[in-house]
């Protein structure tokens, strides 16, 4: 395990800047998640670290050494791809053993066997070692893919949306397992996703990427509660943050220059008594909670509500802001 540092790396494909002046330090033993939509440069960043692409500008150092001239094999990294993660012509066992049998390593077959079985237990696939990899379910395949990275102890694990092709239940399970394994091994891990739940639950620190730029880096708590700008605020929170004009609702104490108010559930107070300024449009029942769709002078607001709050569509309610987030005309946060 080692510290990995990106010094202002940039990569352009044709006219499009995939990664633009990105600097980031991933500390030894840290789990960093890059969060961003499709096309934000997440995968390119991983590929630049792995050496599958060469940066146009900037440097990558792993454990203090500049790896710019090294081939992917020499960089001591492990990569989990989003799909096509297993070699279809090999068994599960051979897939797991593949990195250990590489000419760069040449471990004895006893050593390979020991490591493969240990990792297979860790990712809970030891009962299917002899299966052909194409005979596995999606969840099993991704477990093997993660296992294939774990058989080595590289400087850093790079994971490119490894859970995105799985169904919700499996994703939740593997999320927990992955975090547990990372903690047990104290490994350095850079994980890329567009799923805010994965980022929030697993990361020690989250980096928000947009159009190739790293906008904000911080702990999940910091990113959620203290977003640097509108873009970051919009990436996190379920339901989506409500963006409203400053003078729409009472309770705001906007700093000068503020143009937009960002209000999540915790920034909104709903009362059925008092002077009503909003109307309930629609209620989505999720079981443990309700999504309340509220209309205020043509603006739509979505917020979470206690399922026992006795309102129904058409009811008039009073809505007050409670220390919301303020953003200036350029979208930057005003504090």
């Amino acid at each position: 395990m080692a510290e990995v540092i990106l010094h202002g790396i940039a990569k352009t494909f044709g006219d499009a800047a995939a990664v633009d002046d990105l600097s980031l330090t991933i500390k030894d033993g840290e789990f960093v998640v890059l969060l961003g939509p499709t096309g934000a440069g997440k995968t390119t960043t991983l590929r630049l670290i792995a050496g599958l692409e060469r940066p146009d500008k900037g440097r990558v150092t792993i454990a203090g050494a500049d790896v710019g001239r090294q081939s992917p094999a020499e960089r001591d990294i492990a990569f989990v791809f989003q799909q096509y993660s297993l070699y279809p012509h090999l068994s599960v066992y051979d897939n797991l053993a593949f990195p250990l049998r590489s000419p760069a390593r040449r471990l004895s077959s006893d050593e390979v066997d020991h490591r493969v079985r240990e990792v297979a237990r860790m990712v809970r696939i030891d009962h299917k070692l002899e299966n052909r990899s194409t005979r596995l379910s999606g969840g099993e395949m991704q477990r093997v893919a993660i296992g294939r990275a774990l058989v080595r102890r590289p400087a850093i694990y790079l994971m490119d949306e490894p859970l995105s092709s799985l169904d919700a239940k499996l994703r939740a399970e593997l999320r927990l397992e992955l975090k547990r394994i990372q903690k047990d091994l104290n490994s350095t891990l850079l994980y890329v996703t567009h799923d805010q739940v994965e980022a929030m639950t697993m990361a020690d620190r989250i980096g928000i990427l947009s159009e190739g730029r790293l906008i904000q880096v911080g702990t999940p708590r910091e990113i959620y509660a203290d977003p640097a700008n509108l873009h970051v605020a919009a990436r996190l929170g379920q339901p989506h943050i409500n963006l409203l004009p400053v003078d729409l609702l009472p309770g705001a104490s906007a700093p000068t220059g503020a143009r937009t108010v960002g209000a999540r559930t915790e920034h909104l107070e709903i009362a059925t008594a008092g002077a009503a300024n909003a109307e309930v449009d629609w209620i989505e029942h999720l079981g443990d909670q309700n999504h309340l769709h509220i209309r205020v002078e043509g603006h739509k607001i979505v917020t979470l509500a206690d399922p026992y709050l006795s309102v129904k569509p058409g009811d008039r309610v009073s809505l007050t802001l409670k220390q919301p987030l303020y953003f200036g005309t350029d979208g930057e946060r005003l504090r």
Partner: protein, 317 residues
């Protein structure tokens, strides 16, 4: 999918339509096999039976065609044949009954051997070159890649025999006329464009991620190619190999033009088999029957890959 659903579905053919389809396939197969059956039957007819009109369906089979194919014979007087010791084998007996004796082996097996060497040699070379070229075109940014691919394809845009005369002159100049090497190079050149195009399609379908994963796992590109790409391209390689082999095995025009002696291939040798008073049709048919066998065996061995290979692109994995 191995499970068969009992319930009738819209996309599943009904038993009746399956039976009709089966009947059509069988009928078609029978029609296409008539020439092959004809060749085989002719090979076990006697020379008079082979040219009788209307053709004989019922006849007494004989190995005379095969005997004539494998031997050269000389005519002798009945008295001389009487004075010989008893015949040593079936062919000896058949030959003597025609007032002839076996003079020695024919050139069939050496020519057949030439065909094997030339066809398999050129197929191996074409597939080898084709695989590497296709991989290069598929994975690397090759300058003018599209133009180069078109250029490679353009070598197939005319019948190869159209360039027969320049090739003939060139081969004479370089001493490649009537050599196995010359024929291997020629057939390789013709086949390599087919191999590049076919294999590029197959390799394009193999996701790059596999090689990238292998390269990250500590393998060089060549090792990744060997360990990861090749095993997944076997279907395509097998299909390509069969197409190349069939061309090289059956090629007639260049073989007649460029080979006459030591490098002569079976297709140009078989028509030269002459009996007394014209073509020895049973011997020609016997030579053809044996000539068909290697392709048959090769195709049967690779038929699983071939089936998947020919339908590639239609079904993903």
């Amino acid at each position: 999918m191995s499970s068969v659903n009992a319930a009738h579905s819209v996309v599943e053919p009904t038993p009746t339509s399956k039976r009709i389809a089966g009947a059509i396939v069988i009928l078609y197969a029978l029609v296409t096999m008539i020439p092959l059956a004809w060749i085989f039957l002719t090979s076990i007819k006697s020379p008079p039976d082979s040219i009788s009109y209307p053709p004989k369906i019922v006849f007494s089979p004989t190995l005379e065609g095969y005997c004539n194919l494998f031997t050269t014979r000389t005519r002798q007087t009945p008295d001389y044949i009487q004075s010989l010791p008893p015949p040593t084998g079936t062919c000896d007996e058949i030959t003597r009954s025609r007032n002839m004796v076996i003079a020695g082996p024919s050139n069939y097996w050496p020519r057949f051997g030439n065909s094997l060497v030339i066809a398999f040699g050129s197929t191996f070379l074409a597939v080898l070159l084709g695989t590497f070229a296709a991989y290069g075109f598929s994975r690397f940014r090759v300058p003018l890649a599209d133009d180069l691919l078109f250029f490679i394809l353009s070598t197939r845009m005319m019948p190869p025999i159209a360039v027969a005369i320049p090739i003939y002159l060139m081969y004479r100049q370089f001493g490649l006329s009537d050599t196995a090497l010359g024929m291997i190079l020629l057939y390789t050149a013709v086949n390599v464009s087919l191999a590049v195009w076919l294999l590029k399609g197959f390799i394009d379908e193999i996701p790059r991620e596999y090689e990238e994963a292998a390269m990250i796992d500590g393998y060089t590109r060549l090792q990744a190619f060997w360990k990861v790409v090749l095993p997944q391209a076997t279907t395509g390689i097998a299909a390509t190999a069969i197409f190349c082999l069939i061309f090289a095995w059956n090629e007639y025009a260049f073989a007649v033009l460029l080979t006459s002696g030591s490098a002569q291939t079976a297709p140009s040798f078989i028509p030269t088999i002459i009996g007394e008073g014209g073509q020895d049709w049973p011997a020609v048919a016997a030579g053809t029957t044996i000539f068909l066998m290697p392709i048959l065996v090769f195709t049967i061995i690779l038929r699983k890959q071939l089936l998947r290979g020919i339908t590639f692109g239609a079904v993903r994995k």
